[in-house]
């Protein structure tokens, strides 16, 4: 027999393959994520993205003010800044939060690179591997990714049309305590929830706070959409009534522009000190240029009128979305949000939104499968639809296409009796930054 050809050693195409931390082992190449590559093509109606409609902003005026900012304060704006954030902006953030009843001091505020960094910092300083974070079912995909990266154990608590259910929270925390589990954080999005679209009722808020306090659990109130309600005045934040038991996360990404990457966290003194140190070790300081641009915007523009304009615009789109769902997908059910960007759709019996995604891409429509919003990979019977970015006509067309996809998938269920597709959960199945 001919001897083997001189063989070269095998390669894994990554010389550092054996060097990665355990937390990197779950970072995979994802079919689902690859499918999202088409969503920004104009042929595809994307009901997936959580991108605000920036064409609604006075872009020329913003450009002029940014030009003035660099011309007049360039040496400050382009320089390193404070780790806690630009002081003038922190004072202005107080004005923003006053609309939701929060009374704080500028020293209470830590500016972050988007509220996503605030999530990272909070998780970093509180969570050891195996600690429990309680979150709504479903919960924000970007938060779940952070929690997973710190090896937290996320336990979901159900919500309904009035938000997180206090009785379910009580039961869960009691059960976890009985198991000897250490619950560190309750992560909640009380207003116009991402992805569920529901709002925690005012009646439930003190009950949730009381339960958390009694169980010694710190509440993380994530509130990027609170000012984007479609009806009455903004609801009072949970932080407004509990300064010690709530970490409040705010953001300019939805009410102004995500490109600046400016968010903030309001925290009690001791926590805040650690957040600042953690932030400095991660990024030294948030972008001075971004902070000063937003500060200028808040100072020189009628930002409250702009928010009202966004409310009108997003309400029209919400109406287009729920109207189209009623017309084209009567067998599904969905939440009707009073604000924010998303509706949460429950598919007809037996359908799985993750399995269906390739068919949707073929049908030139995109959404985010419900599985992205659960730490355990469940949620395939739901999907998140966003109405913030596409025009009402595009929304109606997208839902019409989606209905065709659903009908085709329903036929598969009838034929094979299953579409469930449960894989291991990985961060990389999650949509990219423009979609979360």
């Amino acid at each position: 027999m001919t001897p083997p050809t001189p063989s070269t050693p095998g390669t894994r195409l990554d010389p550092w393959f054996g060097a990665y931390a355990m937390r990197a082992h779950n970072m995979r190449a994802s079919e689902v994520r690859a499918l999202f590559a088409v969503v920004n093509r104009p042929e595809v109606v994307s009901l997936a993205g959580g991108m605000p409609y920036l064409e609604g902003l006075p872009l020329e005026s913003i450009a002029a003010s940014m030009e003035r900012l660099i011309a007049t304060h360039g040496t400050t704006a382009l320089q390193y800044g404070s780790g806690q954030g630009h002081e003038a902006l922190r004072e202005q953030i107080l004005e923003v939060m006053k609309l939701e009843g929060i009374d704080a001091h500028p020293d209470d505020v830590v500016v972050t690179t988007g509220s996503q960094q605030a999530l990272d910092l909070v998780t970093r300083i509180f969570i050891d591997p195996g600690d429990v974070i309680v979150a709504e079912a479903p919960s924000y995909v970007g938060a779940l990714g952070v929690f997973r990266s710190y090896q937290a154990d996320v336990v979901h608590v159900p919500l309904d049309e009035h938000g997180l259910i206090p009785e379910a929270l009580e039961e869960t925390l009691t059960s976890l305590a009985a198991q000897g589990r250490r619950v560190k954080l309750l992560y909640t999005i009380p207003n116009f929830h991402n992805p569920a679209g529901v709002t925690l009722s005012l009646e439930r808020r003190p009950r949730i706070l009381e339960i958390a306090r009694r169980h010694g659990v710190l509440v993380v109130e994530d509130n990027p959409y609170g000012l984007l309600g479609f009806g009455s005045e903004p609801l009072e934040a949970m932080r407004a009534t509990d300064g010690d038991g709530v970490l409040y996360l705010g953001s300019f990404s939805k009410t102004f522009a995500p490109g600046f990457r400016v968010g903030w966290v309001v925290a009690p003194h001791a926590v805040r000190e650690k957040l600042v140190l953690a932030s400095e070790s991660a990024i030294l300081c948030p972008s001075n240029a971004s902070q000063m641009a937003i500060s200028t915007y808040l100072e020189t523009s009628d930002w409250k009128a702009q928010i009202k304009a966004f409310q009108v615009l997003y309400r029209e789109r919400r109406d287009a979305m729920v109207g189209a769902l009623a017309e084209h997908m009567p067998d599904a059910s969905w939440t009707v949000p009073d604000g924010g960007f998303y509706t949460w759709v429950k598919l007809p019996e037996g359908l799985d939104s993750k399995s269906m995604l390739p068919r949707a891409v073929t049908g030139r429509v995109a959404y985010v499968p419900g599985t992205a919003f659960f730490a355990d990979g469940t949620g395939g019977d739901h999907m998140r639809l966003s109405y913030c970015f596409p025009t009402p006509d595009r929304i109606r067309e997208g839902v019409r296409r989606l209905a065709s996809v659903v009908n085709a998938e329903r036929e598969l269920v009838e034929i094979f009796g299953t579409t469930a597709h449960l894989d291991d959960v990985t961060d990389t199945d999650n949509p990219g930054p423009d979609l979360v």
Binding site: T5, P9, T11, L13, A37, P358, F416, A420
Partner: protein
């Protein structure tokens, strides 16, 4: 002085493999640029035809994976416009793109390929899914591989070891297309054998051996570290020659041109089983053809440039 050809790389498109295509396009463009080739990269969109007419590239390299990139339709358009391109023409692309058709063609040419059936979704409805699946398992046995009859990057592909897993595999498959290819899974050494055509003629590159702990799925293909590759494959000289000859035989039987990659299984008894062929093989950082090029002793820029020059029409190749 030799005129360096102006190349337009097509990458992106609207298929499920858009992401992979964009990466392939970037990699090839980068390699060609380092060989001093004038390269631009373009998506397949409404601006493409005006761009082709305005820039008039010497040659187009379609690096579109899936759908119009491999089913011949983009190549039809390039033919209509009399634009030279790298790769197989439309008719042969259509044949190669359909896995069952390609299998039947290479089988007629004398190559071995695993037993299979091709079944549309509608048939399962008409005849009853349970009965059809039982007949498939009865005829082909287990394990089985279920894959869309058209498609790449292992999207919608499942290895089925138990009959109870077959319904889920069918559903995953039909999410990507209406027709499924179900074939008997064969054990052996999994190799990819690439064929390139340069001024020196048609040649098989060293086969690349693929070793994974699980299936060679999307993650195993595009997540560096998941898969161990041996380039060249750990074969005897005779085996390596036979694998190369099989790839060339498949390339020729299917009427392919310039570049192709054939996926094969070398069984313990020496039989070489043809699985499928790609007319637009992946060119990403983890793809198989570039590894084969390096294993052959070529530098990627030089080989890609040679492939491009070979695709130029004869009169334009001499300046």
């Amino acid at each position: 002085m030799t005129h360096s050809p102006r190349v337009l790389v097509l990458a992106g498109g609207l298929s499920h493999e858009r992401d992979v295509s964009l990466r392939s396009g970037r990699r090839v463009a980068e390699a060609l640029r380092s060989a001093n080739v004038d390269v631009s990269v373009h998506d397949v969109d409404a601006d493409l035809l005006p761009a082709l007419s305005q820039t008039r590239p010497d040659v187009v390299w379609p690096l579109l994976h899936g759908a119009s990139g491999e089913d011949g339709s983009i190549r039809d358009v390039l033919d209509l416009l009399d634009v030279p391109y790298v790769g197989t023409g439309p008719r042969a692309s259509r044949i190669a793109w359909s896995k069952p058709v390609a299998k039947s063609v290479v089988a007629r040419a004398g190559l071995d390929t695993p037993d299979y059936v091709t079944l549309p979704q509608s048939l399962f409805r008409e005849l009853g899914a349970q009965a059809v699946m039982a007949a498939v398992v009865d005829k082909l046995g287990l394990p089985l591989v279920v894959k869309p009859s058209r498609g790449g990057s292992a999207l919608g592909v499942s290895l089925v070891r138990s009959a109870t897993d077959l319904p889920q595999a069918m559903v995953s498959c039909f999410a990507y297309g209406d027709v499924a290819l179900i074939e008997r899974a064969v054990e052996g050494i999994e190799v990819a054998a690439s064929v390139v055509e340069t001024s020196e003629g048609l040649r098989a590159l060293p086969a690349v051996e693929i070793v994974t702990e699980g299936p060679y799925d999307y993650d195993a293909r595009y997540n560096p570290g998941r898969t161990e590759y041996f380039a060249p494959a750990r074969l005897t000289s005779a085996q390596a020659e036979a694998v190369g000859a099989t790839a060339i035989a498949a390339h020729e039987a299917l009427g392919l041109r310039h570049i192709s990659r054939t996926d094969l299984i070398l069984q313990p008894d020496g039989t070489i089983q043809f699985l499928e062929v790609n007319v637009a093989p992946g060119m990403t950082e983890t793809s198989l053809l570039p590894q084969a090029v390096v294993a052959s002793g070529w530098a990627l820029p030089a080989l890609y440039k040679s492939v491009v020059e070979n695709a130029l029409p004869a009169p334009a190749s001499v300046v």
